[in-house]
């Protein structure tokens, strides 16, 4: 079924805007008017969506994590506590904006703004639906990588300008982590670009729709690497090292309060949505869902997938403890980087063979998908065992039970592997 290309068809907001712009043009406005108007409409729409989503997800995250933790969560302000995020935001707005005495005033004020911009700008190249992309850059993926890395600068500015030791430690950790994990991000995205043959996000989504397969099935290893490096970039457990509460209080934004802190908070959520949007577009088919997009607005499908991916990060935050910085770096350089590199090499080979042998995609893609799935499992397990992570002595043990008072059992052979309810004699 073809889409109705009418302005009132809300399955495709791109059409609606297009009709509006056509009308403006029909009134005889100069060419730049619809051009600017479309930009303003898109930017305002994205801004509104992000603000509403962040407010909603503050509530959702707090309630969901509360469920995981056997508590109720915010339920006082408004029905079911729904107005809690609004109240929090108002409180942040009304608080005194303190600049500490020893802070570098200009940089201290610049950092919250600087961190906010890149997290917003990412959404410019994301296709929210058919034709619903603010700036359809032909180097979209490159743009994502470039913008994503400017976060580091803002975080470091915040940590440095606060003139606080916790903040500086947090900033140092962030820089070290982000630089390591950006390489992995790039490699993970490269696998996708190799297959789709384009860096335009719209083209990548279209490729997945045309081929009737999500890149999740073609590039599972790249997706895994991207999810992990995404968690590092948005400071989510178990990689929330740069603002590790139990160690360095709040990391780089320790000294920030009021709305400046609010900016960091919002930016953190936005970055999370950004990562989720990239995963959705590049690996999960974006706004398409095997024909469902003909019936349901594509942007709803997109948002549904995006929120599901974001939920994954909430879930891990409610469950997992935190790694140490050296473990995280070792994981990046010794584990994820070799795997990502191998993945790119394999993907390149596959695409080359596919093109050269001129196999139809209905045959080639399932084969490639199967090969890559097996390869992903084999590599993840194999590399872990090569590095010694699966060795027996690393498995959980249990305490020895004894009746012998005064005996010293240090470095005695540890008892067998842990059973459920083990300690009980």
């Amino acid at each position: 079924m073809r889409l109705l290309a009418e302005w009132y068809d809300f399955r495709d907001l791109g059409n609606t805007i297009g009709a509006l712009l056509d009308r403006i043009r029909d009134w005889g406005a100069p060419d730049w008017v619809p051009y600017v108007a479309s930009g303003v409409i898109g930017a305002v729409a994205i801004l509104l969506w992000t603000v509403l989503s962040v407010l909603a997800f503050i509530w959702i995250e707090r309630r969901v994590v509360a469920l995981m933790q056997n508590r109720i969560g915010p339920n006082r302000v408004g029905p079911n506590g729904l107005l809690q995020p609004v109240a929090d935001a108002l409180k942040l707005l009304l608080k005194e904006a303190i600049t500490t005495r020893d802070a570098d005033r200009i940089l201290f004020w610049a950092a919250p703004v600087l961190i906010f911009i890149p997290t917003m700008v990412i959404f410019a190249v994301i296709p929210f639906g058919r034709g619903m992309v603010l700036a359809d850059l032909n180097v979209g993926v490159l743009f994502l990588i470039a913008i994503g890395s400017t976060n580091t600068l803002a975080v470091f500015l915040a940590g440095w300008s606060s003139n606080n030791k916790y903040a500086l430690l947090g900033a140092m950790r962030t820089v070290a982590m982000l630089i390591s994990y950006e390489i992995i991000q790039v490699l993970a995205l490269l696998g996708v670009v190799l297959f789709a043959g384009s860096m335009r996000l719209g083209d990548i989504v279209d490729w997945q729709r045309d081929m009737d397969v999500w890149l999740l099935f073609i590039q599972p290893l790249a997706l895994l690497a991207y999810i992990i490096s995404g968690a590092v970039e948005i400071n989510r457990s178990p990689m929330d090292i740069s603002e590790a509460e139990s160690e360095i209080v709040a990391g780089y934004h320790t000294e920030y309060g009021g709305i400046k802190f609010g900016f960091f908070y919002q930016a953190e959520y936005l970055a999370g949505f950004g990562i989720a949007a990239i995963i959705t577009s590049l690996y999960l088919g974006g706004w398409t869902a095997w024909g469902l997009e003909e019936w349901v607005p594509g942007w709803l499908i997109f948002l549904g997938k995006l929120y599901l991916v974001f939920f994954l990060y909430i879930w891990s935050r409610g469950t997992l403890p935190r790694l140490r910085i050296d473990q995280l770096m070792a994981f990046a350089w010794k584990y994820l980087l070799p795997l990502s590199l191998l993945n790119v090499v394999v993907a390149g080979g596959e695409v080359l063979v596919w093109r050269e042998a001129d196999v139809p995609s209905e045959v080639a893609l399932p084969v490639i998908g199967a090969i890559n799935a097996v390869l992903a499992v084999a590599l993840v397990v194999g590399w872990a065992s090569t590095l010694g992570h699966l060795r027996r002595e690393r498995r959980p043990a249990r305490a020895i039970l004894t009746q012998e008072v005064g005996a010293i059992l240090y470095e005695k052979a540890a008892p067998g592997p842990l059973r459920r309810g083990s300690g009980q004699a």
């Binding site: 140490r324 249990r398 305490a399 039970l401 010293i408 059992l409 240090y410 005695k412």
Partner: protein, 379 residues
């Protein structure tokens, strides 16, 4: 490149110092070059205050030293006074003391484990789950003595009151429930890859170093020394119940965690036996008439408890280690000297050696594994 060490304060106001404990770390990057403990932010001069109060008035103080395990604090003190006056609590009171101590040990260890997971960076989830069972235990305490934290339950020669009739059924229900809950925690934490990675081989304390520093409790046992006052110098009715000493083999943070988990299982085991073996009878011993004398104003003045002149040291295995009260009496109504041998304070002594060479993140985890209560460190 010329680098300078960097001094950072962990505490006294910090999310993971478990109170107002302060650690001054000298760092080289993330590595710790030196660690200095600064104590005394919660010093309330308990030992001196106790010299001005009667023996019975001192019992509430023992709630407030180790406020996470008030029952055991009470018990250690009354044992010392009983030793001084040669009073033997009746059998039922002894069993009640064992039940309360073991419930308290379970509650305290669950708190220790939950908070330790928090120090490892879990976002409150383990600690909230651990509070689930702790709440039920605190409900039992409330039933028995009206208070949840500062119990003030033990008395010289017995306990303050017998448990109400609804206490035993509630306790039996709880004991039936705990073995079902424990595997959940073990699945969440013991087998957690990140917890293992964060705690294996961190803060290793050898048995020699542990004994040299007079460390006691789960921290000593994690270093492989099978030493438990309940076995080594039995008190109350511990000789009548069967239980094992849980011992670690590596002395690292992970072993301290494992020992606590195993001790929680042993506490359940002791409670199961205690519920069956508890006799009926009085809950308070007859206090020898010689020790109860008028305080002032001649023979008709208010009566006070006056132990004979002498000294006594009462010690128990508190959830944190050997908790001892050393009391000297000069025959007056107040102690002449009142000393608390607090396990939290003494277990902290090897902290500097354990922290040097580790990272900031490790120092927090090591401090968490020592399981201090600052009320007891500073007294």
């Amino acid at each position: 490149m010329k680098t300078e060490p960097f001094v950072i304060n962990i505490g006294p106001q910090h999310p993971s110092t478990h109170g107002v404990f302060r650690l001054r770390l000298t760092l080289d990057g993330e590595r710790i070059v030196d660690a200095e403990m600064v104590m005394g932010y919660l010093h309330r001069s308990m030992e001196k205050l106790a010299e001005e109060r009667s023996y019975t008035q001192n019992i509430p103080f023992t709630d407030r030293t180790d406020y996470v395990a008030a029952m055991t604090g009470n018990l250690a003190y009354v044992l010392a006074v009983e030793k001084l006056c040669a009073i033997e609590a009746p059998e039922r009171a002894q069993w009640l003391r064992v039940i309360m101590s073991e419930l308290q040990r379970f509650a305290s260890h669950s708190m220790a484990i939950g908070v330790f997971a928090n120090d490892c960076g879990a976002w409150q989830t383990p600690v909230m789950h651990m509070f689930r069972e702790r709440e039920k235990i605190l409900d039992l305490f409330e039933m028995a003595c009206g208070a949840r934290l500062t119990t003030n339950y033990m008395r010289i020669g017995g306990v303050s009151r017998d448990v109400p009739p609804e206490f035993m059924p509630a306790l039996k229900k709880l004991i039936a429930e705990l073995p079902k809950r424990m595997p959940e925690y073990e699945a969440l934490l013991t087998e957690n890859e990140i917890i293992v990675a964060r705690s294996r081989g961190i803060g290793v304390l050898t048995p020699g170093a542990a004994m040299a520093a007079s460390v006691s409790g789960p921290m000593l046992r994690a270093s492989g020394v099978a030493w438990d006052i309940r076995k080594a110098d039995p008190y109350a009715v511990y000789p009548k119940v069967e239980f094992d000493i849980a011992v670690g083999t590596n002395g690292d943070v992970y072993d301290r965690f494992l020992v606590r988990v195993a001790e929680m299982w042993q506490s359940i085991r002791i409670l199961e036996q205690a519920v069956d073996m508890m006799p009926a009878g009085p809950i308070h011993a007859q206090i020898p008439a010689a020790t109860v004398q008028p305080t002032m104003g001649g023979p008709s003045g208010p009566l006070a408890f006056r132990p004979p002149a002498g000294e006594a040291y009462g010690r128990i295995e508190s959830p944190r280690g050997e908790l001892g009260f050393y009391i000297i009496s000069d025959g007056g109504p107040t102690p002449f000297r009142f000393h608390i041998r607090s396990p939290s304070f003494i277990n902290l002594t090897p902290l500097r050696d354990l922290s040097i060479g580790m990272t900031v993140a490790d120092a927090v985890v090591i401090l968490g594994s020592v399981d201090i209560v600052v009320g007891e460190v500073d007294r």
